[in-house]
Subunit: 306 residues, 2 copies
């Protein structure tokens, strides 16, 4: 019944039109595991950090039920670092700096207890590293979700196509779906991508919501219209964490349940953007999450009276 989460645990410098934050805790696996831990208490993390990472954050993760046995700590080395600046529209951003540090030669090693995971979330990383994780699994999981980005499409397409054959759900944004498929229409893009391996495709459209595609079904979840968006960093990873966390907790991969998982993911992402970094995602409880999901129900619910 366990969930395996693989991805970066890192530092970010973030600049938005509303302010800036320096050397705050970030990283895909940090957001994913913190979000997923609200749904399932057996989150097993695989990542790598230097000895510069704050013990306080690690303590919080452990207290949230996240198993850090698979977190490598490299003495004398520095954690992965990313710096970015968001444009006025908060959708586009420029990467100002990327320091791979410990990530440069990251070789993920799954502790024995992780190898029977039935839900796996592969956060955005080199496709070859994502493949290395799948190779260490003792059994075929119920569901493997993979996140990736345009950078790997530009630099490691062959490896990416290989790993896509071995997963169940791909999560990418709309522009990445277009790039990967060569199709402008997301409906056509989904057809092409679903032939590459995954049974499901989640297209993340930021403030415009998310689409879930299977071979013959489509589901759309809006983003919650918010008065203030402070920092979009990690929203996609928080979405993924809520999505896979909900699926792992319910052990149900029917399309009906995946629709709910998309809504839970969207609800978690709507919290993430309200403050810088992981601050908001660290401070939730079940009641807040339920209230937020109810706002999604209100937002899209209508009686067609047909």
């Amino acid at each position: 019944m366990s969930l395996l989460v693989v991805g970066t645990v890192a530092f970010d410098d973030v600049e938005t039109p509303f302010g800036r934050a320096e050397k705050i805790v970030g990283g895909a696996a940090t957001y994913i595991s913190l979000a997923a831990a609200y749904f399932t208490k057996s989150v097993n993390l695989v990542s790598v950090i230097g000895d510069d990472f704050p013990e306080e954050t690690l303590d919080h993760m452990r207290a949230s039920g996240i198993n850090l046995d698979g977190l490598q700590v490299k003495a004398g080395e520095k954690s992965f670092f990313w710096a970015g600046r968001y444009h006025q529209n908060m959708n586009d951003r420029d990467t100002l700096d990327t320091q791979l540090n410990v990530l440069a030669d990251f070789d993920p090693v799954l502790p024995e207890a992780y190898r029977n995971a039935n839900y796996v979330m592969l956060g955005n990383l080199t496709p070859a590293v994502q493949m290395r994780v799948l190779d260490q699994l003792a059994v075929r999981p119920h569901m493997v979700v993979l996140d990736t980005m345009n950078f790997w499409m530009n630099t490691a397409m062959e490896e990416l196509l290989e790993v896509l054959k071995r997963i169940d759900v791909l999560t990418i944004n709309d522009e990445e779906a277009r790039q990967l498929s060569g199709e402008r229409s997301l409906v056509k893009a989904a057809e092409v991508i679903l032939r590459m391996g995954p049974r499901f495709l989640v297209v993340k459209k930021g403030e415009h919501g998310a689409l879930l595609f299977s071979e013959n079904q489509i589901f759309f979840a809006p983003a919650l219209p918010l008065a203030e968006v402070f920092d979009p960093t990690g929203a996609g990873d928080t979405f993924a964490g809520g999505f896979i966390g909900y699926l792992a907790s319910t052990q149900d991969t029917s399309f009906e349940n995946m629709k709910r998982a998309v809504i839970y993911g969207s609800a978690m992402a709507s919290f993430c953007v309200e403050k810088f970094g992981v601050e908001r995602v660290k401070s939730l409880n079940d009641e807040m999450i339920t209230d937020r999901v109810l706002r999604f129900v209100d937002l899209v619910n209508f009686d067609a009276r047909l």
Copy 2:
């Protein structure tokens, strides 16, 4: 129980990545009234054309139940003409040519029988002309919907603000909502705009759907993901026609019913983009519309199981 529709009836040249069409029938009021006529059989049109406009289209409109008594035909003059080219993304477009022709000195005159309209749709026009229409009404309608665009915000803001005080629903796109309010967040933009007069705001986001705001409620309707979008021209007007047509036919301005109206408008718009010009909007029937609305139900429907 009648619906008054005011706006342009015109010719368009349209160029998209999929092809081009020359001197096809267009105009806001054409799309609005054709879409609305599927819902209510008392559509009263006010507009102006030259004697160059095809009788066949007018016959089709009459046969659809659209009253053309308020359509002025200027002998020896030419109808309004617009030419535009869509970018590869189909969201942005450049205006290549605008010939006002008969529109230059359009003075809308409401036939006596039109003056008791209880639903009014003011298509995109000079705010002063929209105001002239309201001045001729004998009674305050149940609902006045106004569509406008950034051009009038740039050139006739004072008149626009005056007419906004006298309407119930404003329909604009997301960038126009931001421009009109000076707020980036659509939630904040809606707060500002609802203080300008209208009780409801519809923000049209094209392929990203539409938002309906009242003072304390928000509803979101997606756009239907389509494999092919041939021509977005008129989609916003077709949305407006379905929206006001549904409201006029149900005579119910509750928020619950306005949500349904937004879905019907979105369904009508999803047809519009499938072919060039009004071709698709002219060729529908009730069953096709119901089937399309059911696709919207499927697209967003989920059971939160809370």
